[in-house]
Symmetry: C2
Subunit: 389 residues, 2 copies
């Protein structure tokens, strides 16, 4: 199996954008090509696009071909769109990774994009309901916020996690986002603001939730030979893991505060990368709701089970702590344009491990992890390093 590295990355501005789906593709695509001057669109032999619901939001299927044409790419080895709800972007990175690792492609762009905000605000909320089981859950109102609220309530009951600790994830990620010009929110937030924001699904308040965001992100993956020819500072894919417990909430047999699929995905990735959780310098974690980040600390092995509340309260997931979690602001601060999220996580790792993250640089970052999920029962983990395995 061949080594694979990131050699370029770029993101669009995230937010409520007065831009079309295609505009967002152009913006992230250009930013990505600008980051790697040795690569022109025609040099790529593949394109993978992570995107969830353009059929609903842009009345458009056939996404990879549309993006290829928009960016002037003519894939000669690989073209595909991937969908795995909120994890569509990372699932796309894995498609490109497998092709390059197997020797079937050499230089592939992975682009994630979603245009969620619609002229009628209710339509965006309705569309998000396609992500849970239509017949058994969405039709009865069991969309993402109440699902994750169950997890938060259980974590509070079982481990004494407090509203303040849940709020501190919001404070940290909004504060990080204030240093990221591409983020949806750039004003930061205080503990009072987070705890005073309106209730969405008890105990999750507005500033503990990711918003409905438009955005796109792109990275370029290369085989070792191509990567070394293109840059002195490639960012290596060291490990990857994916696991599923279940889709419907009723299929998650352990209590909702335990996410065994995340643990298994992480273990697979750590084993492949031959590293442990305490060696990770920064982690892009899927904080769709603040409880998700807390449970991720535990299942990823950054702290013991049940200790995530104190872990964030003591600043151990912030600059100067054990591991910097969500330096770009996470989904809560940056926004969560579904298909774009996993690719934007990889793009952040790319600039961080090259020391190019500016005001939000994690000092001496050498090993990074990304975690992208699509519900509490389905998880994808990637591990990246400044050095190959």
């Amino acid at each position: 199996m061949r080594r694979v590295a990131l050699v370029g990355a770029g993101v669009s501005k995230f937010g409520v954008r007065k831009a079309t789906y295609r505009d967002l593709v152009w913006e992230a695509g250009k930013a990505c090509f600008d980051s790697v001057p040795g690569v022109k669109p025609k040099d790529l032999d593949g394109l993978v696009v992570g995107s969830v619901m353009p059929e609903r939001t842009a009345f458009q299927s056939h996404i990879s071909s549309m993006v290829a044409e928009a960016l002037g790419i003519r894939p000669s080895a690989l073209s595909a769109r991937t969908e795995h709800m909120c994890a569509s972007g990372t699932v796309g990175i894995r498609y490109a990774y497998a092709f390059i690792a197997a020797g079937l492609a050499d230089l592939v762009m992975v682009l994630g994009v979603e245009k969620l905000n619609q002229p009628v605000a209710d339509e965006a909320v309705l569309n998000m309901g396609t992500g849970v089981d239509r017949e058994w859950e969405a039709a009865f109102g069991l969309t993402a916020p109440p699902c994750f609220a169950f997890a938060a309530q259980r974590h509070m009951a079982e481990y004494g996690t407090t509203e303040e600790q849940l709020a501190m994830v919001g404070v940290k990620n909004h504060t990080h986002a204030a240093k990221n010009p591409s983020a949806h929110f750039t004003k930061g937030a205080t503990l009072d603001q987070v705890l005073g924001s309106r209730m969405i699904a008890s105990p999750l308040r507005l500033f503990m939730c990711s918003p409905i965001t438009d955005g796109a992100a792109a990275v370029v993956l290369a085989s070792e030979t191509r990567a070394r020819a293109l840059t002195d500072t490639p960012v290596w894919i060291r490990g990857t893991g994916q696991a599923l417990d279940g889709f419907q909430l009723s299929s998650l047999h352990e209590d909702y505060a335990h996410w065994p699929a995340l643990k298994r995905a992480a273990q697979a990735a750590y084993q492949m990368a031959a590293v442990g959780p305490h060696e990770i310098d920064l982690a892009e974690v899927h904080d769709c709701f603040s409880i998700a980040e807390l449970i991720a600390y535990e299942e990823l092995g950054f702290c013991h089970k049940g200790e995530a509340g104190p872990f964030v309260a003591e600043g151990r997931s912030d600059y100067g702590g054990d591991v910097v979690v969500n330096p770009r602001g996470g989904l809560i601060g940056c926004g969560h344009p579904l298909g774009a999220t996993g690719v934007a996580q990889a793009a952040e790792v790319f600039v961080q491990l090259r020391g190019e993250a500016g005001a939000r640089q994690v000092p001496a970052a050498a090993l990074a992890l990304t975690h992208n999920n699509s519900g509490m029962g389905e998880h994808v983990v990637m591990i990246y390093g400044k050095e190959p395995a």
Copy 2:
């Protein structure tokens, strides 16, 4: 790179089905598991689902997880949905193939599914419009039938191809479908019936076009070790190629009767498989419209450029000819449930190369090709063999 083989395959009944999206998944999934008694859902380490527009037709995203749960699969290595319009199924097979070839997975189901027919008939036609460029083509009525009609008109003008020759593709594929109990149409068709059917987009008449079909298909891919342990007659993936010329009709720089991307995809697949076009015993070709099958003969190298009309008229693409094209009835006879089509092609190759195709068995079939496209400018080719390379 490791060898990969098909070890199981099954299809649902294709047609205008009184069945939900999930019903179709169950039907094809069960048929596939029944074909390979040694594999239970829990034995699979991956699942890929090819599907185009469940967001529109079933108000459902997050498709791979939904299918995993419906079939009792718990992916531990790989879970994804792929979309590439009409080629979504084969693009899914390639995802699984790359993972197994790279050593990242061992036993993966690829399932294709589409529920196109809707309570309101016009909605299905409207939804099909998501497959072409929304802003530049679909909005002006340039959907698939007129695009392929342009190709037919050009082929007739340039090479003297006749309406009768176009019709003979319809006759052949409807006749083949009559021997396939899973096909949408099972009554066959005469030349008079095809030439007398109503005009859709001149010169393409109803019986020269694929219908709007509901259906699903599934195959199981395995690494060499797993394949040999599971069956004495695995069907080996020998080669694969994908290429793109353009998405919008205006981007196809050669005249519409030439499809260079198909030629390149085929050449890549032939080279990888170390075989030539005249060694192929049967081909599942993307006859979304009869002209597509004629141009495919030429670009795949079964005959010279411009000679496809006489090729079909002389029976050279039928039983007893050079190569049996579309023994299951093709898209015209079997129907075209988008994401299911590429997987159903692979399922047909599976039974044919094992000699299990019953009344439609191609004698002494040893090498097979599948061709799946998503517009005139985007093509995927796979080559399968009774023996590994």
